[in-house]
Amino acid sequence: MARIVFDAIAHSYLKTPPSEVSAPEVSAADGDWALRDIDQTWEDGGAYALLGPSGCGKTTLLNVISGLIAPTRGRILFDDRDVTGLTPRARNIAQVFQFPVIYDTMTVEENLAFPLRNRGLGRAETRTRVAEVAETLDLTVDLKRRARGLSVDAKQKISLGRGLVRDDVAAILFDEPLTVIDPHLKWLLRRKLKEIHERFHLTLIYVTHDQNEALTFADRVAVMNEGRILQVGSPRALFEAPRHTFVGYFIGSPGMNLIPCRIADGAAVVDDGIDGARIALDPALAARAAAATAPIELGIRPEFLRLADAPGEGAVAVAIAGVEDLGTYKLVTARLGPHRLKIKLGEDAPTPAERAHLIFPRERTIVYAGGRLVEGEAREGS
């Protein structure tokens, strides 16, 4: 087990990468770097999820940790020991892939014993370790069977087991390991993973593009986009205070409402097609936002917006464009001038009429400048 530190890791798959990693502002157009200057510490014993859209660099980052890829620049440390130049074997990492990798001609027992045998462990000790791991993963009855005849989920458990048998493993990495598993078994395996984490206190890093999987599995979720880690935090922090507009939009279903606005007199003014709708803000937040030079956006989760029939203090008049009933909640689409907002209402809430009034709870309304969260004083420490 180890604490893993990334020291300015950057990676490009090109043979001759561009000399400089481009600045964040122009990054969207620059696809030459798969990872861009990542500084990150993965604490010993943490359960992390790496969440991001396809092609954001999740798998590259995982392969840099395991040593399958040598980063173009930067250093990687395990417990303050530089391992940048070491092989996967020397790093003592376990990795579970999207598709179960098993050795077809071996039995389940031989599969589990394989990493130990390659490290020259004694026969008796190997047998004990294999029996223990098989017990944990409910594979004991299959130990003598050929691995190739087993079901997909059992095979994926064997891949995981080959990591667990090494009790000195630095971390276990998962690269979307449940993609090929049936939905009802997915749930069981995910619970098994949690159980293993609680029992052995291993460092687990779990790559996925499924936010439900990430949020249920991990203590800490790292959201990635375009080769950068945008935010690492608890599922709650990612939901309530996304530090980047991408995180706000990517986490949540549907994602955060983001509306361009300007700041005037302690309020956000949104173009509503008439003379601008005023949305009151926390005074400290408004003061900081007014000082920012980058374009300002207003952010609020669909869950926090409320609808009122009558105009009132701080309510904004909107037109209702549509209501979808999704079984456990209602999803309302409202039009505010050229902008569209999503509002999540309880299943029992009355369906709004054509016109309604939208209330932005002040403590839930946040502001972004140039895509980055403007910190209000009240929010610090959350």
Binding site: L68, R89, Y103, D104, T105, N118
Partner: protein, 290 residues
């Protein structure tokens, strides 16, 4: 509703029946027909039962040709299969080298079979051939027209040169189809290169190797054109393989009856061995008893 009411369905199956009849069943039955009759000329024929079969089975020269054939196919497989896999393992995985090696490997497969024989005649001539003259220049007497051993070496070398590329191409395709994750997992598990070959590559190649083994066995067991052009079955009968003997019997001596009986036996041998190989390879290493 009775499913036999509409007989038009037969029309849809008819083309398959016609094609199979003309491509396989009718020619085979003609041979069966010849094998049980003595034919003197048009309209003059006598039913002889199993007489030709008995004659053929007790023919010493035929039995010799049969053992020669087994030895030849055995040697061909012994060299071609491991060599093909080795070449496939050594081939580049990406870059411009891939297409270059693929084209180079495919070249022997594109040459007409009798031309292969001619190429090797010239290649091994003791006076002007690149190989023949070189070997003789080194002081080793080598002439496939006079020494049976030299003839065998030449014929087997020609077969290996001609057909190893096929095994290599099939194995290469099989290797490329193995997902990258297997190799990554093996590196993480600390497997050696030999382990990777033994536990990942070879088991994953089972399918393509079965197919190439069957193809190479059948083809080498039926070989005719190349050794016929190269040695003509000689010196003596040293390289007279089954099909060469069969053609001598049928065309040279016009013994259609024995030749037909022999053809049927030939066909059954190939069928039997292909089935045995198939069964063996399907079960090897799986631990399943079928």
């Amino acid at each position: 509703m009775n499913k036999w009411d509409d007989n038009r369905a037969w029309l849809l199956v008819l083309p398959v029946f016609v094609i199979v009849a003309f491509s396989a069943i009718i020619p085979l039955m003609t041979v069966v027909n010849y094998s049980v009759q003595d034919i003197f000329g048009p309209g003059q024929r006598v039913f002889v039962g199993t007489e030709w079969y008995q004659e053929v089975l007790f023919d010493r020269r035929l039995r010799e040709a049969l053992w020669r054939q087994f030895l030849f196919s055995g040697l061909a497989l012994l060299f071609e299969m491991p060599l093909g896999v080795l070449i496939a393992l050594a081939m580049p995985k990406r870059g411009p080298g891939v297409s270059v090696t693929l084209v180079l490997l495919a070249l022997p497969l594109l040459i007409p079979w009798n031309v292969i024989g001619t190429i090797w005649i010239i290649f091994t001539r003791p006076d002007i051939g690149l190989l023949g003259a070189t070997v003789n220049g080194l002081g080793i007497l080598f002439d496939h027209t006079s020494s049976p051993l030299d003839a065998w070496i030449t014929v087997v070398a020609m077969e290996v040169w001609h057909w190893t590329p096929l095994v290599a191409l099939l194995a290469y395709a099989g290797l490329r189809a193995i997902p990258e994750a297997y190799f990554q997992a093996a590196r993480i598990d600390g497997a050696s290169a030999w382990d990777v070959f033994r536990f990942i590559q070879l088991p994953k190649l089972r399918g393509v190797l079965t197919i190439s083994l069957l193809l190479r066995f059948m083809d080498s067991f039926l070989i005719y054109a190349e050794p016929f052009v190269l040695t003509g079955g000689g010196p003596g009968n040293a390289t007279t393989f089954l099909s060469i003997y069969l053609v001598k019997l049928a065309v040279g001596q016009f013994d259609l009856g024995p030749a037909a009986a022999f053809s049927i036996i030939y066909f059954l041998i190939i069928l039997l061995f292909s089935w045995l190989f198939y069964q063996a390879l399907q079960n090897v290493g799986t631990g399943d008893k079928r």
